[in-house]
């Protein structure tokens, strides 16, 4: 599903980091649109199977694996940095788990716990470092989104 083409640039650049972020947002868009279709559908059963979420999880894992290829450590701190990209991966995992929240397995709970913990620790670190690109409403609202998943 996720074609790693030989056309991919081998030396990370700002543009390639931006492209990598774009790919994550496409995965997130797939999730969002799936959730919206489920909400609007009378047939809940077709959305209850784990196959779709397993596929998305695989895509996210692959995206995370490629962060060292595209994350730009020399960019000013923000979305293009590898550590920030990892945080975005954790956010995405938690969002994905929302789809299964009534059917969580013990492994899923561990996954959520790990993701939420990493996000909270990272957020505090970036906040104290006063990284300007982190001072956004979205950076504040995303941890707020994750807290209910901890409870």
């Amino acid at each position: 599903m996720y074609d790693i083409s030989s056309q991919l640039p081998t030396v990370p650049s700002i543009n390639s980091a931006f492209g990598h972020l774009f790919r994550l947002r496409k995965i997130q868009a797939s999730m969002r649109r799936h959730f919206q279709r489920r909400e609007n559908s009378a047939d809940i059963d077709q959305f209850a199977h784990g196959q779709w979420s397993d596929t998305i999880k695989s895509s996210l894992d692959l995206w995370r694996k490629e962060i060292p290829l595209y994350g730009n450590r020399s960019a000013p701190f923000g979305y293009l940095q590898p550590s920030w990209m990892k945080k975005l991966y954790d956010y995405s995992v938690v969002i994905l788990m929302q789809e299964k929240r009534w059917f969580l397995s013990p492994d899923d709970v561990q996954l959520i716990l790990k993701a939420v913990t990493e996000v909270c620790l990272s957020f505090r670190k970036y906040q104290e470092a006063r990284q300007a690109m982190c001072y956004t409403w979205s950076a504040v609202s995303n941890p707020r989104l994750l807290l209910p998943n901890l409870c």
């Binding site: 074609d3 790693i4 083409s5 056309q7 991919l8 030396v11 990370p12 700002i14 543009n15 980091a17 931006f18 492209g19 972020l21 774009f22 947002r25 496409k26 997130q28 868009a29 969002r32 649109r33 694996k65 962060i67 060292p68 290829l69 730009n72 450590r73 020399s74 960019a75 000013p76 701190f77 923000g78 979305y79 293009l80 940095q81 550590s83 990892k86 969002i95 013990p106 709970v109 561990q110 716990l113 790990k114 913990t117 620790l121 505090r124 670190k125 970036y126 104290e128 470092a129 006063r130 990284q131 300007a132 690109m133 001072y135 956004t136 409403w137 979205s138 609202s141 995303n142 989104l145």
Partner: protein
Amino acid sequence: MVTIPAAYLEHLEARVAELEKEASAARPWVPGVQGEPDKGEPDQGEPEAQIEDVGEAVSSSPQLSLARNRGMDAGNWVDFNSLVTETMNSSYSEVSNGQDTVLAPRLGMESSLGFPPNIPQHLLGIGLYPVSHLGNSASPFDMGFKSIPQPIGSAFDDSTGETSPELKVLYANIYFANAQVQWPFLDEKKWKIWHNNYHSDDYASSYEGFFLGIVYAIGALLYGAIQGNPVHSACSTAFYNAAMVHYPQAIRQPSMLLRTQATLLVILYALHCPFTKDISDLMSSALLYCTSAMADIKKMASISSEEDAENGSDTMIAEHTFMACHILHEIVELGWDRPVSASYKSLDDKVNLRSSHLNQSCRVLIKFE
């Protein structure tokens, strides 16, 4: 029953201890390193560098380093925060910082919107700012000024309608060093031409005035976040208000791409602004302009020659604009509750379709069927 592996708990405890240690350290902690980007190294967790010296920490600050690379020469370092704090409540007076004597005008503008809360000193992190000396400046964006540009309470001089040119350059540098790197959709070359050719009369009622002002406004917001100084927030508000006077001209331009970029800039400002702005509606407008822009580009590509279609710079800007719009759209979707109307869903479908045609090399946009 859920069990957590002991090894993971130990790892967690170590991470928390590391965080507490960093928070209580006297020196600011600067994540990241300056150097070559990763080249396929295996993921080893968080390989952040530990900076041993405050001076090195400041020099290595990605934000200030990039701003410096755009023309600010490293010189004597001055505690800018303390300098401004001393003068905030005083009248126009001379303040000697031991290196240069600067004039600090009294803050005259009362902001009815209030200021961000005071940040404790030990959390200010990087609060130093270099005092440059006049150098051989090849471009107005070389920060070759001798004294620290003081943020003024009123961003505009009432008598001339002008503001400190050094301040504008500072904010512009901060924008292009930080925001442009993360959101590379603005045509930087074109913007700098507008900036260099700026005369208040020419841009009094033109769309360029919007693009100039909004970049200063965002740069001021970012600088305020870096410095922890609310004065820059006040400047940002003034620049933003001035820019929005020209926003209607910007979104009435024939170029849908320009309209998209204008709206995305306002969204960026709203994201960073300490006070809530209406992001959801802005995002809907951006989607509308963006889908129209992509349709226009596709139409032009089908009637233009292959050579024209491969105009690298314009193509890259268009692609980045689309990608930025898509990314921001997902950010807004995640963070804000939005009603899903039929028209919005139609736009979302179009954006989703076009994004699926962009391959990893991001060169398919012009060629897709």
